[in-house]
Structures are given as structure tokens and as C-alpha cells.
């Protein structure tokens, strides 16, 4: 870790930063018993609403609660304005990139991004080549993970262009987000749709760790939550099985991976998909959100090029910077990474959820050696980034209020318009000193507030 103390979003030295002025009084005046009572209330609320998540591969209680910290994180209006501009810009560039690589591939022809990184990427879907989805949008829900290291220093850690989860953990925005999502989905009716489009959410089922979120969104949007077996293809359309017979579906917000969408197009062994779905999609009978093949834009090998995408497609300078990244596929970068392994965070190119990653400063000597061996064996599978001193915000802990490291995941909706919920989800590493905020690895969440002007 870097030697300096991490940026504390509430206090600079002894001085209180303005956005937190109101909270300071609140926190100081609250007696310990009241605080603990409120924390219990919040937990009870989460349990009652059923905000739970399951941790992959850990067994245990699938109904585990995600830890919620009551102490909100606050942005001033000015701080948020800048972030918002940066997020919109990035979401737009990522979609322009997707539309381009499935069409003429100008950015590849121009040599800005090596073609093989795209075409040989498992997330690039050849079946989408030459197809323009409604409004030319591939990634309709873009989650952008952002970290902060100083008053004006924000970095994008990674992009999520497929089906980012976590929106249901936002308490303040529980009502606004689903309404915006519904509006976005409704604006994406396919070519052959007549009248008001009917949207549904496609879930892998109630064993999925994000099932709560799927049912929450379906409820709030007033749309059906369906599994693949509820859908079937006949003629030019996709239908849902209902007690009143088949009903047509126009827009599918899917929360399942590309590979499981349609066994007739992708994995023939998958029982999860809807046979013929891709044929209906390609012939304009239904819209799939996000579009199959959108994942290639959030691949960590492509990530390095996002600032270039912003320049190439929008002719603008990127507002949000990337975290400096070493691509281990390059020999020079690999050498640097191996030499400085104990200072770096190393991630798998296609990994997610904090799995398969190494946090150098917190690793033991053996862990470092093992990881170095993995790196040498398959360098192209890894990227490395410096260990950033993530900012901290005050968090309720057993020992009272203490700073904990946080990141930020705002959700950007792309349809007829680009919509952004103010704030987004703040994830917090609840263990003192820990930098891993993933809920699967001991992280929690807190509300994010944006102050009015």
C-alpha cells in the first residue's frame, strides 16, 4: 500500500468536509443505544423485504443478509455533476464501441484496438455480426465501478456491460430506479412490435444469488418475472405461458448469461435457455437486454482501451480516468508485474466478483510465489493495477464510528435516452484496512446521497 493515509471523505485532518456537515451532528448526537437500535431496524427491514444474497461456492445459508451500513456516503452536487458527466460519456462510448465492432469495425481498421483482442475474445458473439439491435444499443444497463483516491481523483476500476447486479441494495433510490428501468425497456420495442411493448425479466431461477433483486425489480416495475421454461417460441414471436394461454413478449431483460439464452444457437447442452429465442431476436420479433455479445466491452483486456474509445467515437477527452493497468500479455508489463507483485493487485482478465485475484500487499510470501507461477504459465489471462488507496467514509463498526474503504457503482440506463440514478451503490469493505468490497468477500453496502445545489 502507498505510504500516505487514504483520503477520508468526511474529515480532512480535523476539518469537516462540507458535504458531511449535517451528518456530523447526527452522528455525534446519536446515543449508542439509539444507533444500535436503528442498525437493528435496518437489518430487520432488509430481512423483511428479503434483501439477501447467496455466496457462490460457500454453501451455507442462501438467505444470508447483505450487511448494510447506516452511515450514508455523501457527494456534493458539484462532485456528482462531474461524475455523472463522466459516467454518461463512458456508457455512450462503450455502446458506440459495441455497435461498431458488430458492424464495420472502424476502430479495429483504424488500428486503435488490435482486432484479435476483439475477434478472438470468447465474449465476442459472431452470431451478432451485422445485426443492429433497436436504437443501436447493446448494453442497456452499464455499471461502472469507480474508486476515489483524493478530492478530485476518481478512477474507473472496471465496467459491467452485461447484467450488473446490486441495484436493489440502494435504499434511497428503490423507487426511482425501477421506474427508469421500465421506461428504458419500453423504449426498446422490437421492429415487429405493435402497440405498447410488454417487457419481462428473465431469471435463472430462485436459486440464483441475485434472485431477490430479480423479483424486486419485477414487482416494482409491474412486469412478469419469468424463467426460460415460461417462454416458448412459435411463429415470429416469443410467448409466455399463462393461465389464460400464450401471451406475446416484446422486451426481455435477461439476467442469464449469453451461453444460456438459446440452446439452438449457443450451448446445445443448456436446458436453461429458450429454444429459438435468437432466431426471433435476429428477425426482429423481440429485444434482448443486454444484447448477446455485449460482454466483450467489459472484458479487462478491452478495458485499457476505453479512454481511446471515448476519443475515437465522441471526439472528447475522457472525464473519468482508468486505473493505470499493466497487461501481462505484454512481456515488458509482465516483467514489471513480477518484479512488483507485492505492491500490485492482479486480476484475471475474464474474472469477476473478486475471485481469482491477488492483493499483493496483503498476500503472504507463499501466496505471492504461487501467483507468480500462475502468471508465468498464462500471462495473457491477467492484468495488474497498483494498489490504490481507496477513499474511506465513516462506517458504524463494533468499536464505534471508524473509517472504512469504499468504492462506487453507479448504474447507467441506455435506451431512448441515457438515464442515471443519482448516487448509485456504495460498497464498503467492513474489515478494518481491507480493500475488497465485494459482497461475496466480506463487503457490505451503504446508501449514497447526492446533495441538492
Amino acid at each position: 500500500m502507498t505510504g500516505e493515509a487514504p483520503f477520508n471523505e468526511m474529515y480532512q485532518g480535523d476539518a469537516l468536509r462540507p458535504p458531511y456537515a449535517g451528518l456530523d451532528v447526527w452522528a455525534r448526537d446519536m446515543p449508542a443505544e439509539l444507533r444500535s437500535m436503528k442498525q437493528h431496524e435496518a437489518e430487520a427491514l432488509f430481512r423483511r423485504i428479503g434483501i439477501t444474497f447467496a455466496v457462490y461456492g460457500e454453501g451455507g445459508d442462501p438467505d444470508r443478509l447483505i450487511p448494510f451500513d447506516m452511515f450514508p456516503r455523501v457527494f456534493s452536487a458539484a462532485e456528482w455533476r462531474r461524475l455523472e458527466r463522466g459516467i454518461r460519456q463512458r456508457a455512450q462510448a462503450l455502446n458506440a464501441f459495441l455497435a461498431d465492432i458488430y458492424a464495420r469495425g472502424e476502430i479495429l481498421r483504424a488500428g486503435v484496438i488490435p482486432a484479435h483482442l476483439v475477434h478472438c475474445n470468447e465474449a465476442y458473439e459472431p452470431a451478432m455480426a451485422g445485426f443492429m439491435p433497436p436504437r443501436g444499443v447493446y448494453s442497456h444497463i452499464v455499471g461502472i465501478d469507480i474508486v476515489r483516491t483524493g478530492p478530485d481523483d476518481f478512477f474507473v476500476l472496471e465496467d459491467n456491460c452485461r447484467t450488473p447486479s446490486g441495484v436493489s441494495y440502494m435504499l434511497e433510490n428503490r423507487e426511482t430506479y425501477p421506474a427508469l428501468l421500465k421506461r428504458t425497456l419500453d423504449s426498446l420495442a422490437p421492429e415487429k412490435c405493435e402497440g405498447a411493448p410488454r417487457a419481462v425479466i428473465l431469471t435463472p431461477g430462485h436459486f440464483n444469488s441475485a434472485y431477490y433483486e430479480h423479483s424486486f425489480l419485477a414487482d416494482m416495475m409491474g412486469v412478469e418475472l419469468v424463467e426460460a421454461a415460461d417462454l416458448f417460441v412459435e411463429g415470429d414471436f416469443v410467448w409466455i405461458r399463462t393461465t389464460e394461454g400464450p401471451q406475446r413478449v416484446d422486451v426481455i431483460y435477461r439476467r442469464i448469461d449469453d451461453a444460456f439464452l438459446d440452446p439452438l444457437c449457443f450451448r446445445p447442452d443448456s436446458m436453461l435457455g429458450v429454444a429459438g429465442l435468437m432466431n426471433v431476436y435476429r428477425s426482429g420479433g423481440v429485444t434482448i437486454c443486454s444484447a448477446p455479445g455485449a460482454g466483450v466491452a467489459d472484458d479487462k483486456a478491452i478495458y485499457c482501451f476505453v479512454p481511446e474509445m471515448v476519443r475515437f467515437y465522441l471526439g472528447e477527452e475522457p472525464i473519468l480516468a482508468n486505473v493505470p493497468t499493466w497487461q501481462c500479455a505484454k512481456a515488458d508489463d509482465l516483467a514489471h508485474v513480477l518484479e512488483h507483485l507485492s505492491e500490485l493487485v492482479v486480476k484475471e482478465v475474464h474474472g469477476s466478483g473478486g475471485y481469482g485475484m491477488l492483493v499483493g500487499p496483503q498476500a503472504t510470501r507463499t501466496q505471492l510465489e504461487d501467483f507468480a507461477a500462475k502468471l508465468r504459465a498464462d500471462p495473457a489471462n491477467y492484468i495488474a493495477q497498483p494498489t490504490l488507496a481507496l477513499s474511506t467514509t465513516p462506517t458504524f463498526t463494533e468499536a464505534g464510528i471508524a473509517p472504512r474503504h469504499v468504492d462506487l457503482r453507479p448504474y447507467c440506463l441506455v435506451g431512448e435516452r441515457i438515464e442515471l440514478v443519482p448516487g448509485g451503490l456504495t460498497r464498503v469493505a467492513l474489515k478494518a484496512g481491507s480493500l475488497v468490497v465485494n459482497s461475496s468477500q466480506g463487503g457490505g453496502v451503504k446508501d449514497t446521497w447526492v446533495l441538492a445545489e
Binding site: H206, D219, V226, T242
Partner: protein, 317 residues
């Protein structure tokens, strides 16, 4: 409504009802086992209970001799026995979890609490659990689930599917219990009207919590005719087949009205209802009780099949 949602509601209804039926069956067995085995040569009462539950072969294969403790395990706790109380409770809760948003909070709470308490009980040392603790719990729990549905659910199609499942299962279980009483439990037809017969009947009525109701309705001596009338044709009897078929028809009619079109399921249920409404207990005995009950069980299965095709497959147009 999604067909899958309807199917899960329907199965909540069936599973809850089946959990109760099996708990009551267990109680019948335990009470029957209390009287000394003096007549010799007739089958063990537990064997009859296993047959009534439809799992005798499965039990024999996994446990061997019908010993009470094993039967309790098998009928109550064993998740490998798909009709054990535990398996039914687990499935009902799983059905509920899948369609959680279609349930009221009270109904979900009741299902979820049942599941948690069931797990708790399964962990409890068996010497600290009496059979009546177990069966009382099951009957009480099922009543809570039913009560939650009755008190809090909108009277919409979701409520109808829940009740259609429940009514079909209840009619089926009454038919089976009655059938088993005469063709398995009683050693020989010459025992009809004997003290043993009487004792067994009182046990069944008591296990069904219907002993007093029967007394009020018929008074005096227990005869096969009265019992058959009470459990098949008496509209006042909450477990009579006719009562369940009335409930079934009522909810299928409501569905047809709500959806604005009549259905083959409605016709099938109405036909069955018409027959039962006309029937008299003498006719039942003329046909033969066993024959009549077998026909009922098949007719109920046929209605269930039409319900499946009409509403639960999602393909009927």
C-alpha cells in the same frame, strides 16, 4: 398469471393438504396400535397405514419390518419419502419461495415458519419428541398456513389455484383413507360391525377431528353406511368427497368467470359434482365401496390432468 405461478400455488395447496393427511394417518396408526392384538392373523395396523400412504413398498425396501419408530421417521421426517410430512412442508415452502411475490406476507411467513420449525424438530433428539407433539404440530401448522391464506389473500385467480390444489388433494386423501379402512385395515369382512371395526372407526374419526361432528350428525351406533355417507356424501362434513368437489367446482367456476371463458376443467369437475350430489349411500354400496372409491380416485386424477392441461401448461388457447 404465469402458468408456473399457478402451478406452484396449486402445489402449495396439494402439499399442505398432503402434509396434514399424513400426519393424521400417523395418528390413526398410533391409536390403533394401542389396542392389544387379540384377533390374531390380521395385518399389523402399521402396515395398513403404510398402504394408505402409498409408500409400503418403499418403506419395506429401506427399513424392513414395520416398527413404530421407523414408521414415524418414514412418514414424518424422511425427506426421501416424497409424501412424508417433512417433504410436503419443504416442498410447499419451496413452491412458495418460487412464487413469493404472489403470496401475502402472512402466507409466506406461515410457510417459512413451518419450514424452520420442521428443521428445528428434525434436529431435536427423538426421545424428547412424542408422536402427539409431532402430529399436533403438523395439524396446527397446516391450520396456520390455511388461515393465513384465508385471512389475507385477495380473492383472485391465485387464491383459486391454491384452493383447487387443496380440494383435489383432500378429496383424494379421504377416498384413500376410507378405502384402506375397509380393504386393508379390517382383517375380514365378518369383522364389519364388530368391536374392532368400531374401535378403528372411532380412531379414524378422532384422528380426523371429526368424532364429535359425526356424533352430532348421526348419533348412536357407527355403521359402515353412516361412515360412508359422512365421508363421501355429507355436505356438512368438511372432509367429505362431495364437500371437496364442491369447493373444487366453485373455484373452477370463479376462474372461468374471471378469465371470461369456460374451460374443460370446469366441465369435468361439474360432471363429478353432479354425480356425487345425486348419489345416495345405498348406490355406493350397490356398486361396491371399493369399486366406487377407486372410480373416484381415478376421476379426481382425471380432473387434475385437465386442470394441468387447461391452466398449468400455458399452451391452451
Amino acid at each position: 398469471m404465469l402458468s408456473r405461478t399457478a402451478a406452484n400455488l396449486y402445489w402449495i395447496g396439494r402439499n399442505v393438504e398432503r402434509a396434514e393427511a399424513n400426519a393424521r394417518l400417523l395418528e390413526v396408526g398410533a391409536r390403533n396400535a394401542l389396542i392389544p392384538n387379540t384377533s390374531g392373523g390380521f395385518r399389523n395396523e402399521w402396515d395398513a397405514v403404510l398402504r394408505a400412504s402409498g409408500t409400503a413398498a418403499d418403506f419395506a425396501q429401506r427399513y424392513g419390518e414395520p416398527v413404530q419408530r421407523n414408521i414415524e421417521t418414514h412418514l414424518f421426517f424422511d425427506l426421501k419419502n416424497s409424501s412424508s410430512v417433512a417433504a410436503c412442508v419443504e416442498r410447499a415452502r419451496e413452491n412458495g419461495r418460487i412464487v413469493r411475490t404472489a403470496l401475502t406476507r402472512q402466507l409466506w411467513d406461515a410457510l417459512n415458519t413451518a419450514h424452520q420449525e420442521m428443521r428445528e424438530m428434525a434436529r431435536t433428539e427423538r426421545s424428547r419428541l412424542s408422536l402427539s407433539d409431532m402430529t399436533d404440530w403438523a395439524i396446527h401448522t397446516v391450520a396456520q398456513i390455511r388461515g393465513a391464506a384465508l385471512a389475507t389473500m385477495l380473492r383472485n385467480d391465485a387464491y383459486d389455484f391454491l384452493n383447487i390444489g387443496g380440494a383435489l388433494e383432500r378429496a383424494d386423501s379421504t377416498a384413500r383413507i376410507l378405502d384402506v379402512k375397509y380393504f386393508v385395515l379390517l382383517p375380514h369382512l365378518s369383522f364389519v360391525g364388530s368391536g374392532l371395526d368400531n374401535y378403528q372407526w372411532r380412531t379414524i374419526l378422532r384422528a380426523l377431528s371429526l368424532e364429535r361432528a359425526f356424533g352430532w350428525a348421526y348419533g348412536g351406533e357407527i355403521t359402515p353406511q353412516k361412515i360412508a355417507d359422512f365421508l363421501i356424501l355429507n355436505r356438512q362434513s368438511p372432509r367429505a368427497i362431495l364437500t371437496s368437489v364442491e369447493t373444487l367446482t366453485h373455484h373452477l367456476d370463479r376462474l372461468a368467470r374471471g378469465y371470461g371463458r369456460s374451460s374443460p376443467a370446469q366441465e369435468a369437475a361439474r360432471a363429478l359434482h353432479a354425480e356425487l350430489a345425486e348419489a345416495r349411500v345405498e348406490h355406493v354400496f350397490e356398486e361396491g365401496l371399493h369399486e366406487f372409491l377407486s372410480r373416484m380416485i381415478n376421476a379426481l386424477a382425471a380432473v387434475a390432468d385437465v386442470v394441468q392441461r387447461t391452466y398449468l401448461s400455458g399452451e391452451a388457447r
